[in-house]
Amino acid sequence: MAAADSFAALAREFELELLHLKQMLALLEAERRELLTGGTEGLDAITAERLVQANALELYAARRAALLNAQGFSADAIGLAACAAAAGEGGSELAASWQRVAEAAGEVRDLNEQNRTLMRMLLAAVADGVAVP
């Protein structure tokens, strides 16, 4: 694959990855609402869809790594910066796309951790209740 094609392919991957990250954010927000309101009816469907999105995100991360490695770059932020620098005119757009992906991924991690903490607090309360004879 020519270098220009690889850069274009990488840019397309970023767009798709961002879509999945936004979907994941929406799911995590829905999950948070359920947890905060004590509702559990929607949790099963949210969890199933979250797993689908997590699998898709893993796939995109692997494809991104493969595209970068094929161009001789490492599959991390340093490799991406080097790739953007080598992309010529399209480099700034590539870097901006990656920045959007990285920010969305950070939001997903934060919200995921918040929900996990919330879930553990709720379960700790349940466990305390169970321990009472």
Binding site: L35, L43, M119, V126, A127, V130
Partner: protein, 125 residues
């Protein structure tokens, strides 16, 4: 003897992402005839059920050496150890309602659960 309604579940070698699915399962189970919650740790108390990643050699080794193998009903994730009689399996991808059904199946067969269908609301005297 009154049938048991709350069951402590110990997860052995379950990947972090799937622990999250287990937590969701426990939350969904609250308020049902049979409710499940994570076993206290450390140290783990005396769990009613053990959940093991049936596709992980490390998890299976931890389970085999834990002393639960012949004692505690076991729910395998992904793949069942056929040598374990008191067990059930949930195929991947995991889903809370499927896990819940399997936990109910284990408690019905090997525990002292209140059968979901015959549980009645308390009546005034």
């Amino acid at each position: 003897m009154m049938a048991k309604r709350h069951f402590a579940v110990l997860a052995l070698g379950v990947p972090e992402r799937e622990l999250r699915i287990l937590d969701t399962t426990f939350l969904i189970s609250q308020g049902r005839a049979s409710a499940y919650a994570p076993a206290a740790e450390p140290p783990p108390g005396d769990p009613d059920i053990v959940v093991v990643d049936g596709e992980s050699d490390e998890a299976l080794a931890a389970w085999a050496s834990s002393g639960h193998r012949y004692v505690t009903p076991t729910l395998f994730l992904g793949k069942q150890d056929a040598s374990c009689v008191r067990s059930a399996v949930v195929p991947r991808p995991l889903q809370p309602t499927r896990i819940l059904a399997a936990l109910d199946d284990l408690t019905r067969r090997f525990g002292k659960a209140v059968p979901e269908l015959i549980r009645r609301p308390p009546t005034s005297v």
